[in-house]
């Protein structure tokens, strides 16, 4: 690391706590962010000379607060009459100055920050953009790049989100137990969405977007430290780690998708897999199952198989069955059908997905999977129809290319069969 890289790392890791505490004092997202930025500027000036403070977050909170209060005072002198409300708010803030930074607010501060980003008035796209900006501290440019949109558009999305949060009455009190668990679920969902933004990237954009996966994992670990005994948060963290562990094996050099069965398993990240497996073990001890835990357990069964043929498909089928009960969705059934095809054959799997056709009539994966089952049953003409439909619904060029590969294989297989019928 270069001699100033440690400052960046310290600032990044202290950010959620510092912005969270500043938000508690100022009750305004913009003021809190600005105070944090000012504190960072001072840190960049003084830390290289004086060395790192013992507690970087406490330092940033203290300095950020002092700078912001000075600003408010200076600003107020130029006004004719101060607003009563502003004064009483400020007094509160000054009282708080005396309060020790002993970390007792740590949990609530970070939660408040996360909860604000997951405000129910915000659409999901704004939630994740706001969280990446406010909690993770990515620059607008970085976020725009990861979402493959222009910087101006992303700036606008974040500004809108902030305005909505400011308009809505954001409760600054610590929420009660019921509300907390509801909002915890919203935060978990938001983290999962951030991860998926990175994970669903196609080969040509995977590199640009994979920081989203890493950021989601960081946020999940942060949440888990706040809720150490919450099995679903363990499950979520495990799920993200186990999925991301396969990152290096998921695309070939041309950016084409490599399916799980064809991946070079030596490229899987073993440290991430171990961490994911350890978290599932922890979660299971609570005997309170949930969708994240089940999905993590499915991922774990793939991770545990050193070769595709050693995959425990029977267990995966059962887990998807449990997930169907907990979270009924045609997409879950479609995934289950893949496991069923391995355990009970393509016909059983096809029977399972046929009733879904109406609801998944615009879903790329439905036709990809259907085509694959039909191909296994040697119903090649029908398979071709399904693959053609899949290509027309493909979201990325990599998806389309992958289906074309199946079509090519059909062509290859069917031609010799028509003439010699001997070639395998």
């Amino acid at each position: 690391m270069t001699d100033t890289a440690w400052i960046d790392t310290a600032l990044t890791s202290a950010r959620p706590q510092a912005v969270g505490a500043l938000l508690r004092y100022f009750r305004n997202l913009d003021t809190a962010e600005e105070a944090y930025q000012n504190a960072c500027l001072r840190a960049l000036k003084t830390w290289p000379q004086n060395g790192p403070p013992r507690d970087p977050a406490a330092w940033l909170i203290m300095v950020g607060r002092n700078v912001a209060i000075d600003d408010i005072r200076r600003h107020r002198k130029q006004q004719a009459l101060p607003e009563d409300e502003a004064i009483s708010d400020l007094d509160d803030a000054e009282d708080a100055l005396a309060e020790r930074l002993d970390g007792s607010h740590y949990r609530d501060d970070i939660l408040r920050l996360l909860f604000i980003c997951c405000h129910p008035d915000l659409p999901a796209t704004q939630q994740i953009a706001l969280a990446l900006r406010i909690v993770s501290g990515l620059t607008v440019k970085q976020i725009a790049r990861a979402f493959l949109v222009g910087e101006a558009a992303m700036e606008q999305r974040i500004t809108r989100a902030k305005a909505r949060v400011a308009e809505a009455s954001v409760p600054f009190e610590t929420p009660g137990a019921v509300e907390r668990s509801e909002r915890l679920a919203a935060v978990a969902a938001m983290i999962y969405l951030i991860f998926n933004e990175g994970y669903s990237a196609s080969g040509d954009t995977a590199e640009i977007r994979s920081p989203l996966c890493e950021e989601a994992i960081r946020l999940a670990r942060l949440l888990l430290r706040l809720f150490q005994s919450e099995p679903e948060i363990m499950g979520l963290t495990a799920l993200l780690l186990l999925q991301h562990a396969r990152a290096a094996a998921r695309f070939d050099v041309d950016g084409a998708v490599i399916l799980l069965d064809d991946q070079d398993r030596r490229l899987w990240n073993q440290a991430m897999i171990s961490e994911g497996l350890a978290l599932i073990d922890k979660a299971m001890r609570h005997h309170r199952s949930g969708p994240y835990q089940i999905q993590a357990a499915i991922s774990a069964l793939h991770a545990r198989a050193d070769k595709p043929e050693n995959t425990d498909w029977t267990q995966i089928d059962l887990l998807y069955g449990a997930l169907e009960v907990m979270q009924p969705s045609p997409v879950v059934t479609l995934n289950r059908a893949v496991a069923v095809s391995k355990v009970r054959g393509a016909q059983a799997a096809l029977d399972m997905i046929e009733p879904l056709e109406q609801r998944l009539s615009n879903y790329f994966h439905y036709f990809g999977v259907r085509g694959a089952f039909l191909m296994q049953l040697d119903r090649n003409d029908e398979a071709r129809v399904a693959f053609d439909r899949a290509i027309s619904l493909a979201n990325t060029s990599a998806e389309a290319a992958h289906i074309r590969m199946h079509l090519d294989r059909l062509m290859r297989d069917s031609k010799p069969r028509a003439t010699t019928a001997s070639k395998k």
């Binding site: 990044t12 890791s13 202290a14 960081r218 670990r221 150490q228 005994s229 171990s274 922890k282």
Partner: protein
């Protein structure tokens, strides 16, 4: 005399390192480790997984399993074991057996991410 060198750092900060930063640190450490290995002085080296993956067994009667790392400050680190286990339950079983033999205090059970056995030449 054998010395244990225990590594403490801000987990958030280390967790924020990029892959490249992490690799660069590991590479610099490897230089020091290689020297010790050649001299036959380096024993086991382990890098632990994050504290979020930790479980703590309080050696009370009956023993109490808690999620998360050991968090008390009134007890001190006095030793450690490295045990090969299939899963957390197996590790907890080992910890319970050890705890029964030596009650009081706590064991933090933390999965090991990276491990080199090392070899000290007598």
């Amino acid at each position: 005399m054998m010395y244990a060198i225990l590594c403490y750092h801000d987990e958030d900060a280390v967790g924020s390192w990029t892959k490249e930063q992490d690799a660069a640190v590991m590479k610099k450490l490897a230089v020091v480790q290689d020297k010790l290995t050649k001299q036959g002085r380096l024993g086991p080296v382990a890098r632990l997984l994050p504290t979020t993956a930790a479980t703590t067994l309080r050696k009370d009667d009956p023993p109490l399993v808690l999620d998360g790392p050991f968090a008390e400050t009134k007890e001190q680190l006095l030793g450690f074991y490295l045990v090969d286990c299939k899963n957390l339950d197996e590790a907890l079983e080992v910890a319970r057996d050890l705890g029964a033999a030596n009650p009081g205090g706590a064991y933090e059970i933390r999965p090991v991410g990276m491990f080199t056995p090392g070899r000290v030449l007598a």
